[in-house]
Amino acid sequence: MLSLAVTSIIGTIVPQNGNPAAYKQQYGEVFYNLFNRLGIFDMYHCWWFQVMLIMLTLNITVCSIQRLSKTWKIIFPTQLSFNRSRFQKRANREEFQNQGALEQLRKEYESFLNQQIGHSIVERTKKGFCVFAEKMRWTRLGVYFVHLSVILLLLGGLIGSLFGFNGSVNIAEGEAADAIWVRNSHEKRQLPFTIRCDDFDVSFYDTGAPREFRSTLTLLENGEPVLTENIIVNDPLRYKGINMFQASYGQLPPEAPKIDPDMEVSLNLLSRESGMQYQRKTKIGQVVELPEGKGKFVIKEFQPSLEFGNMKLGETFIGLLTPSQGEETKVILPVKYARFDTMRKGAIVISITNDAEDFHAGHDHTVRYYTGLQVNSDPGVWVVYAGFLIMIIGCYITFFMSHQQVCIEVIKSGKNNRVFISGITNKNKLSMQNKIKKLAQSLKHVSKQEEL
């Protein structure tokens, strides 16, 4: 008993050790917000926190082993025995009287307890006998299951942080990536395969909130596609121990349309002096001699959507006019507004005679998305899951199952037999009390049947 008490005190070191961890986290919360703004996300991985976790693990391990080694013999004795006097002191002891031969009763009660509780043993006393039975002795181990599970969780976390990785990558539709950015660092990590995003779709509710986003991913190994699958949030793709999660998405900035630099641009040149119109064909960068000796003109660049003041000019060429006399002038030539250049009041009014559609080549009007993937690998996750399972089972055993021992004692007194029944349990005394009451009732019943 003394050793049990001592080990119990050692056992209480566990919660004492658990609490500082909890409180540190509590104080940590405030800092966490602060650190969050400062961009420090890693406080739960900093050294003192890790040390505390290791301390907790060591504590649970040491206390459990110490306690277990001392109580193991109590939990699993080599020979089943019981102490009659312990049962005689129980508050839940019920008593009734009956008649009958002791030997007969012994057989009945023995089989009764065998049926109701478990294997029973009999002890003969001076004035009668005792029948003892017990069940679920092993449930005393429940708490060790829970402690084991905590260790498994921490171990799994350790395995994950040592051998796993976690990162993210954004892939535009139609493009591929074979490396990811490791979380909270600026490192890139190579993947053993290439992820190609074939397609990305996002749908919205009528409130405007996103309803679903879906990426179609193809995995390529050595350039060969091996797998194509759709992933949505909550439904990741797993391949070779690496998981790909739909995490976010975004729109790509509208792409500058690629127009062919060799594309022919048709110019109309109107001379104010003569009223003559001249047609010329040119390319970007190619110098055009203006008619009537008015100088030179060259198209410098193309703008897919130029804004001029408040006006949206759309596809526009920008050129440079070098007159025979005077200064160089910038010339703006919107494809859609042929008369735009008249405002310049120059000697030659330049306009573009191509259709605006001619310059749409390569200009994709549909919005392009990129998909944000979270990519990780965690070899420790199965250890953690095993921990989860054991924890639930362990908690259930610890809280709701108990080691139950029941003893029936019969003492011959005169003509009658005094029958006592009482039970010991390590938990839930109230339900044991009810159980003893019920057992006593059915015991009376057993005896009465015999009398009839």
Binding site: Q25, E29, N166, E212, V233, F245, F400, L430
Partner: protein, 281 residues
């Protein structure tokens, strides 16, 4: 008749139940307590029916695209919380044959419903992609069974402290109508163990879900951290009781501290940034 109206009515039914329980306790009238039990049963039925209606209604709007179990925002979770409290309370009342506890427990259910009805948005909103998972149901149900059990253990601990303080004086007042100290202790323990098991399962289902949705089972999100703190508080309580043999007042105080942690996990965390922010008002 829609779910919001029904649930508003249920709020007042809970109020009536709480009132009857308190009246029965103060005036020591058994008939009032029996009536309170029936009112609670009616409120619970209305509560569950309201949730069912809301579930059905969610399929009627947005071409059915909104359809989801009513467990996705603060309003819905409060309504469910009240239902779990009432359900567990009725089971406890039946098993322990004591109707006084209701005076301390039903006000909590009433406050939940009142807060839900008057303090939160009760519009049915569509689910964001992250919440579209069957784990949602498992996670929320287990967590709230845990919370409800803790709420009842909190109520029982209050009675314990109340009784403990005034037991010797004035034996003739309503306090003698309260259950025995031994029963209160037993009940606190039963509720804490039950709640602890469900909180554990709730955290675990959340972790498994997070792993399937985001690829990590634990990210030190404020809600996760706070649920862990709550778990630590109750784990300490259990260790103190099992290993050190604590009982009575100290356990009652721990159970109250534990419930404060539950409340902060539930409400306070909404003011901190994190993945669970959809739980906010």
């Amino acid at each position: 008749m829609n779910s919001s109206l029904l649930l508003s009515i249920v709020t007042f039914v809970y109020c009536l139940a709480a009132f009857l329980y308190i009246a029965a306790w103060v005036f020591k009238k058994k008939e009032l307590a029996v009536a309170a039990t029936w009112v609670t049963i009616a409120a619970l039925i209305g509560n569950v029916a309201g949730m069912g209606m809301r579930w059905h209604e969610s399929y009627q709007i947005g071409d059915g695209s909104y359809g989801h179990a009513p467990l996705s925002n603060l309003y819905e979770s409060l309504v469910f919380f009240a239902a779990t409290i009432a359900l567990i309370y009725l089971v406890v009342e039946y098993r322990y044959k004591n109707r006084t506890l209701g005076a301390f427990v039903m006000p909590i259910a009433f406050l939940c419903m009142a807060y839900a009805s008057f303090g939160t948005m009760n519009k049915i909103q569509p689910l964001i992609p992250a919440l579209k998972s069957n784990w949602l149901i498992a996670h929320v149900i287990t967590c709230f069974f845990g919370y409800a059990a803790f709420a009842i253990s909190f109520g029982v601990s209050l009675i314990f402290l109340f009784k403990d303080r005034f037991q010797d004086k004035n034996k003739d007042t309503g306090r003698s109508f309260l259950p025995s100290v031994a029963l209160l202790e037993e009940l606190t323990h039963q509720m804490v163990t039950f709640g602890f098991l469900f909180l554990t399962i709730g955290i675990i289902t959340g972790a498994v879900w997070a792993n399937s949705a985001w690829g990590s089972y634990w990210t030190w999100d404020p809600k996760e951290t706070w649920s862990l703190i709550t778990w630590f508080v109750y784990a300490s309580l259990l260790h103190a009781r099992f290993a050190r043999g604590w009982g009575g007042q100290r356990i009652a105080y721990l159970s109250i501290i534990g419930f404060m942690a539950v409340l902060f996990t539930y409400f306070g965390v909404n003011y901190l940034p994190g993945l669970h922010s959809y739980g906010s008002v």
